[in-house]
Symmetry: C2
Subunit: 260 residues, 2 copies
């Protein structure tokens, strides 16, 4: 296996590419590589390049960039807004969202979010590692957390929002079900696909905390013209499972999983 690394800088055949202290540690101590060994490098802009390790000191290192191995490709503009949860499932969300193909990840503080102290730098490092391992040509950014109210206030209406409404029917009954029941997610996505004729609009997915969205939040979301509500099956999914499931279904129905 040839290691793939994300480089925060230009990549052109013949250029040297400096390696970070973390990359040097990873290559040397985790993967046991040495000078002369092969790499693949990408920077989110110029595609992917073959490269060779030319220097591997204690904390510094460099690669020599060779031939381009892949062209840069456009990816679907799909943002994941997710209520942060505790550390294990939080990291699962970030890792899996990158693999499945989200373009950007933003934690959203909802009413029932039991906000952990978020280490965005650590989440970004997890996203970078996932991008390197899954063969992506870019690294999704992990944004600073935003409050639910601010998210809706600053929303640009050309981006559609798939709202994963896991609260179930009990609350629905409480307020008379007047906003209607959420439909099965694939029905929702299929009907959109037939309307937009395969064109890819900017989209986002919003998933809630373990306790779900509050009735007020659900009402507010359902009232927005850009929101599509959907249910993810009859069982109660954990927050991380719901985020992965929604991303997978969107990619398979509207995103780049449609290509073979």
């Amino acid at each position: 296996m040839i290691p793939r690394l994300y480089i925060d800088g230009p990549l052109h055949s013949g250029l040297p590419a400096p390696l970070t202290a973390e990359q040097v540690h990873y290559l040397k101590n985790v993967l046991r590589r040495q000078e002369g060994d092969e790499l693949r490098l990408f920077n989110g802009e110029d595609g992917e390049f073959a490269a060779r390790i030319v220097e591997l000191k204690k904390k510094t290192g460099a690669a020599q960039v060779g031939e381009q191995t892949r062209d840069q490709e456009a990816e679907p503009d799909l943002v994941l807004y997710f209520a942060p949860v505790k550390r294990g499932p939080l990291e699962t969300i970030v890792q899996k969202a990158v693999e499945v193909g989200a373009a950007r990840l933003v934690p959203v503080i909802t009413e029932r979010t039991i906000a952990p102290k978020l280490n965005i730098a650590r989440l970004q490092a997890i996203a970078t590692e996932a991008a390197e391992q899954c063969g992506r040509l870019n690294v999704p950014s992990v944004g600073e957390p935003i409050k639910f109210a601010a998210l809706l206030k600053t929303w640009t209406e050309d981006r559609r929002l798939l709202f994963c409404d896991e609260a179930g029917d009990e609350e629905e009954k409480e307020w008379g079900g007047r906003e209607g029941r959420a439909e099965p997610v694939l029905d929702v996505l299929k009907s959109i696909d037939s309307k937009t004729d395969g064109g890819v609009e900017p989209w986002a997915i919003l998933t809630g905390p373990e306790g779900g969205f509050s009735p007020g939040e659900r009402r507010e979301l359902r009232a927005k013209s850009y929101v599509t509500a959907a249910t993810l099956g009859p069982r109660i999914l954990r927050a991380d499972t719901a985020a992965i499931a929604a991303l997978v279904l969107w990619q398979a129905a509207l995103g780049d999983w449609r290509r073979s």
Copy 2:
């Protein structure tokens, strides 16, 4: 939140239900419950019942079964065969497969499986906990590991198999691509849905180890009449992500996520 517990025994209104030492520990020390507190009990056969804790000693306890709260429901007959991976992602597979709605989980030892020592009892405990938390009315069993060759040898042909062919195109080219490329998974599942007119046959999903299936295994699988091969998007998914994604897509396209 009222705790839900799986009971390995009969459940009828008015009967006492003994609690296991693990359940007593969980109720007492993790959830801080006491005698008189409410429970929900299910046993995989008789639906779900309200119950009340009537005894909570050091290692023994019992509940008194009250009214039935839910009828038993049939679930799709979907087995997940998965190559075991290292502990973290292995436990993710089991937990998420139960939530998403697999009926049974069986580890399969393939050519490239780096077989960890499997603790089936621990995986079964994770499955039970996931079933209790996601609101299922049964607990999927976690089977003993089976070898790839034995799996195909004992296959009953009325069960269809979705083979998640993550190996990509390189090996395909090596052997001339004569078995054809795998199709995007949702296309495959949609075409089956239109043929079977919504009827639910027995199905299984097979996912591989981190290194994928060997060319020989892929050839063997592709030659079986009951096998449908599908790809899960353009990125390389980790083994646990692939298993979750395949289960989610099957449930949404052919399983019980279709109901609203």
